[in-house]
Subunit: 340 residues, 2 copies
DNA sequence: CTGAAAGCGCTTACAG
DNA sequence: CTGAAAGCGCTTACAG
């Protein structure tokens, strides 16, 4: 029962039913103009052979497939949350979803990857695609919605209000009394990374705290990239009293590094992330972060794509969703304030 | 830059380069026997037009695609964890992954769904497929590995040691002093559901505690299905002092129901789940459960499928992975034992 | 109501 | 070294 030789094709059905493939196709697709008795014959042949039309052949021939695509380069918690939102939005919509994940580049960033796969899918398989955190601008012959676009991207997109979120983080830290706040930046070609850094800078500037460029580390959103950066910041004699990382993944690594160096969090160091992935709540101490509801990013992106494909989208195609500061145990007033 | 009209095809490239599509195909696929100058011409045409071969057309023509498929009916935490494992196993393997999710049935169970989509993919798109928690037995013309197979399934599969896990749960509860333990079962056609119930029965039997059939509710793994069942169990005058649900999703709902009825957990009622999804650790109180490492299920399934497709798998094709009891705050000795 | 034929975008023998 | 032709599994005008 496991392996069944060659797949059953429409020709097999046609032969068994004694009709042409054109007729089988008509029956399969419920077209008018087939006699009741022929329908019955074809149906029984289909049943007998366990025939299902090939997704590939069908989509090559048809213009509309009712399949939407999602292209991603990795599959971490972030993507998982996004997907839940996407599926919820597509529920009962008549659109199925195909997710294409490139295993060769798993977890690493490779320029142009998303464009390549987007094109390979858009040709005929999908009616439209969602692209998650692409490296650069994307183009396609079918509608696309980008989640977390590149800087200066002009395609339809959904993104969180990163500027406000990052500002809130720094204000929170300033409010606790921190003045030397390290920052671990994300991949700079992403709009999200830029906005988070900009929020950091603006909040400091508005509080009259000068920005110390040596307190800024250049990460790339890959958690591992934060390790040497955090270590460098914490090795300094004048180490910061707080570190704000542009993603939870990086913040969690910074937290690990701090612990490894014998620093207590939040006693010796406050740590803040961005994203609010599930792991943040589980960390010890819980990670203060900014919730950007990846679920909603996915939900809204899918909703927009659905309308775009159907040609009925109204309103702006660059959506910005609100963010929310989530204070947990990883932030507190710096020790120096508490006296010797 | 967003919408680019019709997709660029191989003919477009051929025309621009002044060669036949056969030659373009040779260049694209790095076949021998093309002159250096022709290669250069074709490459430049490809570059100029931004050509990418169509996944669909290529896979229709070729027998081997180097794409593996994964078919799932929903996209909850369970699936997300499985996927992380799958991607890790496929990393650097040369196989890409296509996930097919049917949005119309999202979250609900529909018989035969997985078979239909498995067949539609296997025709030509994928070299093999992983099917997650299918409703029944599956068959395919290409290799398949099932995660959490149906009862009596004979196809290659990966599943957790549900029997041992469930036994450990009940022994844990018995050890705390519980004697009236309610059980909320899963979808009975799944081997996992059957084993978990069997573990419940055996552990009770071995401890000499008679199984009370009225203490067993028939759920289907869908969290919502647990709500009326938990309510019924807790509404009784002789309500159980503990409830063991066959999945975390259902256990979490039971926990909610108990709280809603004014019962304290674990004071008035102990609750145990199965799976150890991330949400279990976040519940208040933390949910005692059985860890079945969905990540490893995915990892092992992908590893097996990879070998199966390459024709180099050795050893058994029905893999059972160990489980581990995780005790958290939702279980304690029943009040009655503590005296009035 | 039904079938023969063309064609979706590719790849692969087969000639030359 | 290169191209014309057949064909992967379907669908869709076009005839009849």
């Amino acid at each position: 029962m496991a392996e069944g030789g060659a797949p059953v094709t429409m020709s097999d059905v046609a032969r068994l039913a004694g009709v042409s493939t054109a007729t089988v196709s008509r029956v399969v697709n419920g077209r008018y103009g087939v006699s009741a008795s022929t329908i019955a014959q074809v149906r029984s042949a289909i049943e007998r052979l366990g025939y299902e039309s090939s997704l590939v052949a069908t989509s090559l021939r048809r213009s509309r497939t009712n399949v939407l695509g999602l292209v991603t380069h990795s599959f971490q918690s972030y993507t998982a949350e996004v997907l839940k939102g996407v599926m919820e939005a597509l529920s009962q919509s008549g659109f199925d979803l195909i997710i294409y994940a490139n295993s060769d580049l798993y977890g690493t960033y490779s320029e142009g990857w998303e464009q390549r796969h987007l094109t390979r899918l858009s040709g005929t398989l999908t009616d439209g695609c969602i692209v998650v955190t692409p490296w650069g601008e994307v183009r396609s012959s079918t509608p696309v919605v980008v989640i977390d676009p590149a800087r200066d991207s002009t395609v339809p997109s959904v993104t969180a209000d990163n500027l406000t979120g990052a500002t809130a983080v720094v204000e929170h830290l300033l409010g606790l009394g921190h003045r030397r706040i390290g920052f671990i930046a994300g991949r700079s070609n992403m709009a999200a990374a830029w906005s988070r850094e900009e929020g950091y800078r603006r909040a400091l500037a508005e509080a009259g705290v000068p920005v110390d460029p040596t307190l800024i580390g250049r990460g790339d959103f890959n958690p591992e990239s934060a390790v040497p950066l955090a270590r460098a910041l914490l090795d300094r004699a004048d180490r910061p009293t707080a570190i704000f990382a542009a993603s939870d993944g990086m913040a969690l690594k910074a937290l690990e590094v701090a612990k490894g160096m014998g620093l207590s969090v939040p006693g010796d160091l406050s740590v803040v992330g961005f994203d609010n992935i599930p792991e943040s709540a589980l960390a010890e101490p819980g990670l203060t972060t900014v919730d950007q509801s990846m679920y909603r990013l996915g939900y809204e992106a899918a909703r927009m794509l659905k309308s775009l494909v159907s040609g009925e989208w109204e309103g702006p195609t660059q959506v910005v969703l609100p963010t929310r500061l989530v204070v947990r145990g990883s932030t507190a007033a710096p020790k120096s304030l508490l006296g010797p």
